[in-house]
Amino acid sequence: VKELEIKYGTSATKGLSEAEAAARLQRDGPNALRPPRGTPGLVRFGRQLAGGLQCLMWVAAAICLIAYGVQRGQGDRGSSDNLYLAVALIAVVVVTGCFGYYQEFKSTNIIASFRNLVPQQATVVRAGQTLQVNAAELVLGDLVEIKGGDRVPADIRVLAAQGCKVDNSSLTGESEPQTRSPECTHESHLETRNIAFFSTMCLEGTATGLVIGTGERTVIGRIASLASGVGNEKTPIAVEIEHFVDIIAGLAVFFGATFFLVAMLIGYPLLRAAVFFMAIVVAYVPEGLLATVTVCLSLTAKRLARRNCVVKNLEAVETLGSTSVICSDKTGTLTQNRMAVAHLWLDGQVLAADTTEDQSGEAFEQRSASWPLLSQVITLCNRAQFQPGQEGVPVAQRDVIGDASESALLKFAEVTSGPVAAARGRFPKVAELPFNSSNKFQVSVHEAGPQQLLVLKGAPERVLERCRGYLREGEEHPLDPEWRRSLEGACLELGGRGERVLGFCARWLPPGSVAAGTPPEALAEVATGLCFAGLVSLIDPPRATVPQAVRKCRTAGIRVIMVTGDHPVTAKAIAAAVGIISEGSETPEDVATRLHLPLEQVDPRQARARVVTGSELAALAPGALEELLRTHPEMVFARTSPQQKLLIVESCQRLGAIVAVTGDGVNDSPALKKADIGVAMGIAGSDAAKQAADMILLDDNFASIVTGVEQGRLIFDNLKKSIAYTLTKNIPELAPYLVYITASVPLPLGCITILFIELCTDIFPSVSLAYERAESDIMHLRPRDPRRDRLVNEPLAAYSYFQIGVIQSLAGFTDYFVAMAQEGWWPLLVLGLRPRWEDAHEQELQDSYGQQWTFAQRRYQQYTCYTVFFISIEVCQIADVLIRKTRRLSLLQQGLFRYTWVCIGCFLCYCPGMPNVFNFMFQWWLVPMPFGLLILVYDEIRKLGVRRHPGKTHLGTPWIPGTHLGTPGPHLGTPGGTWNSPGTHLGTPGPHLGTPGTHLGTPGPLPPPLDSIPSPHPPQIKAQVTRPGVCRCLLLVERPKNPKRSPRNHQKVTKKRKTLNT
């Protein structure tokens, strides 16, 4: 205390003087959290308008305006097309920009959420006087007093405390209230008892302490600055889209520049060539793509919201799908964040109690003759009570006054042995000694008819000291060594599961042995010679749905890591209970026990699982964490600080994983922010966690994440379809310009029409593809490898561009030539016609029949051509949307009209009325139909080939040499990692090991491994995962055998998975 006084220049009794406090406030600043300086909104908005594509569009718009201006200046009143185009382009850019800005704007300042945690008022002793001050005015060395119900106003060193308990759960993840006392119990300031943290809640008792940290220098302040300092990672889908947009923009500029040069060389005036450049950019850039992606994502977000996942950041929808590692907090996420009775020990047996949230599990056997006494003790030796007025509420949801353990016992008693209040009424309390940390037990004495009943509960060893006998089959026996051993064994076993064990005993006293009003201290003397009734163990039980969800994650190739602030024993027990440490896995400690070796001699690599504590983590060399993550597929991190959580996330990311972090506490917020996708708990989650997260689980249910993963994968698959669809029409949009410039035909398709296609008619079908259901069991596949399974890859682009796109272009040109010929312009005349066609002074241009056309008539005809070309693209796009519905299955298999949405979408936007700005004639719809059919048939043939010869080269699909071969491998276990990677690396797992359905297949003809890890378990299979990157830290999932699957099915499933697809 003296040291402290000196260190902080204060007095432990009188506190600081007012003047000194004011001076320090000046020096250190207020005790509050400061928001970081952000970029101004205008700059951010500007950034939205200056992306790669946007810049291109600006250039295009500028060219349009210049061209319009020049035409104007030359007195050409002919057309304001260029003006319209410029306006449309600018509108597209600005609207997209606003949308993006809005999205960004929504992820608001994270600091604001911390502010709610900060207390407003503090009781402080200054110059010997106790006064209330604003919490922001606290300074170092201030002497503050806290009492139950207050928030701790700063980081304080406790100088004196009476039964003070604080709730650190949001800061450290410990679900139990922590006692605060003046003694130093641990070196780490996070664990020692004599420091209470800023913003934590003082639950009971009082304490006086010295302020040792204010504002940013508190623990929570550091977390806050950590959280706000962590940059938001780019989501995988954003990376994908950026990658894609870069390519598109590059190609657009390349094409544009090429034709600009060509046009200049041919001898066009500069302005004309610039307009060509602009037109090519407009034709090639998929203006509607971003809108499509956004709408698809928000549809999925909506679907997820119905399943209790609220998505804050749209792109996060997909991120969950590509997640390969989930770092889950324990408390409140995997567990229910409440204490509950897990086990009972009576009559020498361990019985499991029902720990489910809704009491739907099986009740234990209550037939033992010892049970009535034990239940009576549990009921009576308890100070907690239900809050009044909750008769209708299920027991588990009732609010209780009392601490966590007591309420757990109370609820347990209410459920198992009927109304507690009635029982207590029958046995009125005479006297009691409440629990305290030095006694470690609690006693109460009740009137029980002619006798008095003394009941006692507490730590088993203290309880045992006071016992003379034990209860078996309802009868009291004297203690014997054998029974003691069995009791110790039970204590160890239950304690080893991370449960808190309490012993219960009782004794019948003659009437009047304890008078009403006996001082509590006296009771300790009465309570001897008791009869031991049984043990009850408490735990924060895992949620019922979690084990199933963890299993699903594993099937889906997702590794689940537990990262908690709680104790390693508890963490390990919960991990084992939910399957994060799977049955049969051993930690190095387990191996040591099994082999009777000291821990040092055990090679940690033999162990599949590993529990690492925060202090061990701190001692690790840089890089060793990655090594650990690589070596042990099943990891549990305990006693971790927020920084360490961040470190773990970063390590996983360095290994190439897409990391999801779930958490609820303030301490999780930096990791949530750092993660590729942060998932916060909606009910238990602190505001800070929710703000930092990208997604909120409204029901706090870990299982919802699995739904999210499924939807995320589905949307990635479907986005692929959407984009393939969207890309296809770029060729028929671009081709008219190329032909226009090279073959000098009258322009077949105008820029405005292109924009109309991009932004109006094509949005609906491409969005409707987002509703497609999955073609195969996506949850049995590995997460995609973000470096290899791109959203858009070469086969997809090639297939869209060079095959379907070309067919569409031909359809367009056919229809164009037909329309021209029918009006009198035969194809051969049309070629090279452009200069005369576009001569505004030529009013008597002769067609193939000798008819003479004025300029305006020709222009009208040209618009007709736009219409015709437009119709052709649309007709082909109908076929295109149909073929894109599936990638491998035949349309007939998938069901052509399964989704009315698609059909309505098709009809609505392609119905003749829509483009009524144009002229319409039915026969123009007929001409491209054969081409539409051709597309359908062609793609069906391709799909047939894909199904017949999975992985083989076949008609219509450009394969990637060297990566497509392979026989179908084993279908279970790791599926070779091909879940949605058309063509690129259809790595087919090679020869499978063991019988089908055993374990791991080695992916076949993949590039030589950059890094391979030996599969640590089971050791007899020497499989190596050769996929670089992500799989290094992937858990090699050992899937249960599935005897139901026949070989035929097996074959089929494999094929589906292996096939080429686009």
Partner: protein, 295 residues
């Protein structure tokens, strides 16, 4: 093609080098694929062309009603010249000469091709169905002499050297189009004066009201002295059946144009099925500017 930068791109390139056979296969595939597509494309267009008649377009909704155009063809529809400088109007004269060559009497001598349709406007001359079952169709003669001062026979400068420029007005050719003579009410009085039920009259006035007095006298020379197109020249049977068809012409001479200022003239052809459109300023009418410099 799309991913040059990422690893799969490099891998692909590498494997292409490693397995040139595969690259050749891809190439071969595309050659065959595009070959097939080209075949289908050309085939479709051929089939489509079969449905299109050689003699008559399937649709004429874009080309009708016809445009009205003038000779000489001029850029920006402006005729600027100095009467005393032969060089300044030489292009116009040459343009007129070229155009009128087909109208010369010696070009219209073959009686298999040409038919004398009289000196006065008469009814349409229907020449049967639009095919070559009866060979080529005959064409009405148009005498260049009818154009009098603007025929270039007497005055090879078409009046330009006197500052009295001629222009030729003609209706665009449209297969099967039968212009209908105007009904009375809508016509300007000058046109009414020379009304004929088989005549599509042509009339030129000042574009702007205030120019009305600057135009001066306007002479019209047409078939048999009628200021318009006789209906016997219609319908047109197309360049296959009437390769030497002669459009009826009206010559318009402005004999007293004000010099040294821009005078805008609008000429119209009148008929029930000849309409004017704001979007197409050459449909059934045109306007032209004269700027005659005095020195």
């Amino acid at each position: 093609m799309a991913t040059g930068r990422n690893s799969s791109g490099t891998r692909r390139r590498r494997s292409c080098w490693a397995a040139p056979g595969a690259a050749v296969k891809i190439l071969l595939f595309y050659v065959i694929f595009y070959g097939c597509l080209a075949g289908i494309f050309i085939g479709t267009i051929q089939v489509m062309l079969l449905t299109v008649s050689e003699f008559e377009p399937k649709y004429q909704d874009r080309v009708a009603p016809p445009g009205l155009t003038q000779i000489p063809q001029v850029q920006k529809t402006e005729i600027t010249f100095t009467a005393s400088e032969a060089g300044s109007y030489e292009p116009y004269v040459r343009n007129l000469d070229n155009f009128l060559r087909d109208y010369s009497a010696e070009q219209q001598t073959e009686n298999i091709v040409f038919q004398d349709c009289g000196d006065t406007p008469t009814e349409y001359k229907d020449r049967g169905p639009y095919n070559d079952a009866q060979g080529q169709k005959k064409v009405c003669k148009f005498r260049r002499e009818w154009l009098e001062n603007c025929s270039g026979l007497n005055d090879p400068s078409y009046g330009y050297k006197d500052g009295k420029p001629c222009i030729l007005v003609k209706l665009n050719r449209i297969i099967g189009f039968k212009p209908q003579a105007p009904v009375n009410e809508s016509l300007p009085p000058e046109v009414m004066a020379k009304y004929n039920p088989n005549l599509i009259p042509v009339h030129c006035v000042a574009k702007r009201e205030e120019d009305a007095d600057k135009i001066g006298a306007v002479e019209y020379y047409g078939m048999g002295g009628y200021p318009g197109f006789g209906l016997q020249y219609y319908p047109y049977y197309g360049k296959l059946l009437q390769p030497r068809y002669l459009q009826p012409l009206v010559a318009v001479q402005f004999t007293n144009l004000t010099y040294d200022m821009e005078v805008r003239v609008e000429c119209r052809a009148y008929g029930q099925n000849i309409v004017y459109s704001d979007k197409d300023r050459f449909q059934g009418r045109f306007d032209i500017k004269f700027y005659i410099k005095s020195s």
